[in-house]
Symmetry: C2
Subunit: 447 residues, 2 copies
């Protein structure tokens, strides 16, 4: 006998976890498609040299890799960005530019297993490749906003709870411009590293660290910290940023593009308070080169950003000489699911069908099959219990799985052409003619 178990860092998805996961994926697909992003998929396994090409030491160490049956060195993808770069370079002429894709797929990282960190997880990315125009930056904000709004409707709708969120937007060019203006363009890496600790160690320590690591003067540190500490309304912040970067073209362009994103988002139907200019965040700024987005849940900000992304200058320099600028973001599916659960927005349901047809009288199987079929024909999911067991056991099964309604018909009801429609929440029951069962169910489901 073999012990049935999963590898450390891996997990099974039981129905109660998989049902909301599939709903979340379907919502993301629907939103991405509505903006014209096309689905793609790439292999889980790639030539190792493709995956290690740009990898840091950390991703290299975490990557699952091995020699396959043909002796080729292969690796399991650890993100969807490297495969995208390879994909676009390989199929450039077929795809044409601009190219907008989404990719929802599993990735693997053999990192140390710990609470909330898994070695197998799903990424949910969308990107627009082949344009530097701010229209794509604006659209990224629109997609993130629509995504979170749609998820709020998919999950919060029934409970009446609202999924509050705010999108923080920054532009890498603002800080780049300020650093250039201060003569610190070459020092951006150590400065960013120090700045990233602002929340933890405070202004003075950061200034000390910057001086030590990047040789900044007190005035230089002061200017950089002033930028990071700006607060107020979007207009207020942008006016102050404008003053700080005045005279530097890159910085001014960054401010201009932030203003365009705000105006465009408003034109695209995003409420004014949903987007917040936040120049304090240094996160990901060493990877991105333009607009940067992060998304936080109002009632659970500590869980971190649940949708992040930004603009990059050149996606696939390792694979092609063609310059491929782009912008994209990634929905943190697993993190968001954990958040929805913590916020009480996920029902504990183990069945995707709301109706259980009880197999009551062992000789009436054809009648039960007909009833279940009639319910399904009305577009309502209906499961027929697969054997004639005691009614108590079947109702227990229904309760345990979260069915909303049980249909019960014995010899008497079937002879009379009726059926008991039992609301499993209110425990009330009504005898209904067979022909109107779907209507009676719809009424209960509508609340």
């Amino acid at each position: 006998m073999i012990d049935p178990r999963t590898l450390s860092g891996f997990r099974d998805y039981l129905p109660e976890a998989m049902i909301p996961r599939e709903r979340l994926i379907a919502t993301a697909q629907r939103v991405y498609r509505s903006f014209g992003f096309s689905p793609i998929d790439t292999p889980a396994l790639e030539y190792l040299e493709i995956l290690t090409g740009k990898g840091s030491e950390e991703t290299d160490r975490q990557m699952y890799h091995f020699a396959d049956q043909g002796g080729r060195m292969v690796g399991m993808r650890f993100d969807l960005t490297v495969p995208l770069a390879r994909f676009v370079a390989q199929h450039a002429s077929e795809l044409g530019l601009p190219f907008k894709r989404y990719h929802i797929a599993t990735v693997w990282r053999g990192e140390r297993a710990q609470r909330g960190r898994y070695r197998e997880f799903m990424q949910c990315d969308f990107d627009t490749i082949g344009t530097k125009h701010v229209a794509a930056d604006i659209e990224t904000a629109l997609v993130i906003h629509e995504l979170l709004s749609a998820i709020g409707k998919s999950f919060g709708g029934e409970s009446g709870k609202k999924l509050g969120f705010s999108i923080r937007v920054n532009n890498r060019m603002v800080l780049s411009g300020l650093l250039a203006k201060l003569g610190l363009a070459e020092k951006s890496v150590p400065i960013l590293r120090s700045l990233d600790k602002l929340g933890k160690i405070g202004r003075e320590k950061v200034a000390e660290e910057m001086a030590a690591a990047a040789g900044t003067t007190a005035e230089q540190s002061n200017q950089v910290l002033s930028l990071a500490e700006l607060s107020g309304t979007n207009d207020e912040v942008l006016l102050q940023v404008e003053k700080l970067v005045a005279g530097n073209l890159t910085g001014e362009e960054g401010v201009h593009r932030l203003r365009e994103i705000l105006a465009g988002a408003t034109a695209g139907g995003v409420p004014a308070d949903a987007l917040q200019v936040d120049v304090s965040s240094a996160r990901g700024l060493d990877y991105y080169t333009g607009a940067v987005f992060e998304t936080f849940l109002t009632d659970l900000p500590t869980i971190g950003s649940i949708c992040s992304g930004g603009r990059y200058d050149n996606l696939a320099s390792l694979f092609t000489k063609q310059e491929l600028p782009g912008i994209g973001a990634s929905l943190g599916l697993d993190r968001l699911l954990a958040a929805l659960e913590e916020l009480g927005l996920i029902e504990n349901v183990r069945t995707p069908a709301p109706v259980l047809v009880v197999y009551f009288d062992k000789d009436q199987l054809p009648a039960y099959l007909k009833i279940a079929q009639a319910v399904r024909a009305a577009g309502i999911g209906a499961e027929l219990f697969p054997e004639p067991k005691k009614i108590g056991q079947q109702l227990q099964y229904a309760d345990r799985r979260g069915f909303r309604i049980a249909l019960i018909a014995g010899e008497r009801e079937l002879a009379a052409g009726t059926c008991q429609v039992k609301d499993l929440a209110s425990k009330t029951s009504a005898e209904v003619p067979l022909a109107v069962i779907p209507a009676a169910i719809a009424k209960i489901l509508a609340g």
Copy 2:
């Protein structure tokens, strides 16, 4: 510069392949859910001993396996049945019985790459575990029928073409019963192996082979071949089978259950001619123990069965002492997609959104964002071209991707509060007030 390429036997899914694939997956999910099957997922990687437990030499050789960072021997799943067995054994008490699940996921087999055979492909399984009752057999037939009907509507609908199919049903107990009656119960493996060649080598050679491999007499071979060669209506076939197996309880039970499946399927709304009793097929009969299903496309039978399955006595004997009988089937996603393409049922579309908003006047971005948003708010996908390029280039982009409609508005139209709605199929265009654009689009899309 690294050469961008995929491993032999692996493939990228470009939008024109991924769009129908996602539609097929969504259709399968919808049908499975409507019958109360719940989604689950399991890890791509499992302990090697879990995967090799029951494997044949062939699957062992084909399996991708390696030592992970922690020195554990792990393998990539090569089907969804072994993981299901492990899953049910591991979570039996949480899941409860009966347990109905579907699982749509990627599997890997390092077999020799050849045309139409890939090393990475998707399986799409549904199973009911924990009951021997014929109601689950009937439901399997209903699910297969609904699945193919729904796929026909999803893909054939617009073209008016119909996806014809027939489901062949058999029961392992019929042949088992006959063999037992003939005193050949112990010889079923070599007999099945010979019988499987009937179509290729003919009756006489099969009889010779059976005699050589299983020591059958001429009369024994004759009886077995008579069973395999039965034809006619379902009633005719079952009457003849009944005579052949008469006196053997297993064989009689097999006939009885076949009759119950036919009657139940009719009660469940399946047309009488959709299910055909076919006792000739020996396929999979060494794995299954009861009902067996295969599904063939009327206009492309040579592609083989596109949905197959059957009943088994005990799913997880390697992992638990609990007896877990069940029944299930698997939709051959990739084979079916290839068939749909061959039958001309897949449109060549590379965009999931039907509408392209042309970015015409470079200063009117907010107006275009508003138009695109209004179309999406009406539930219609709309992509805004992400930069102001020549209109010809944008229309070329629209053509190449298969957009149905382009919305074009210059300064004049926007000042007048209108927009050109261009039907890209008929090449006709109409100027429409902004407020009624969604209605004008809906009319074109409705054909």
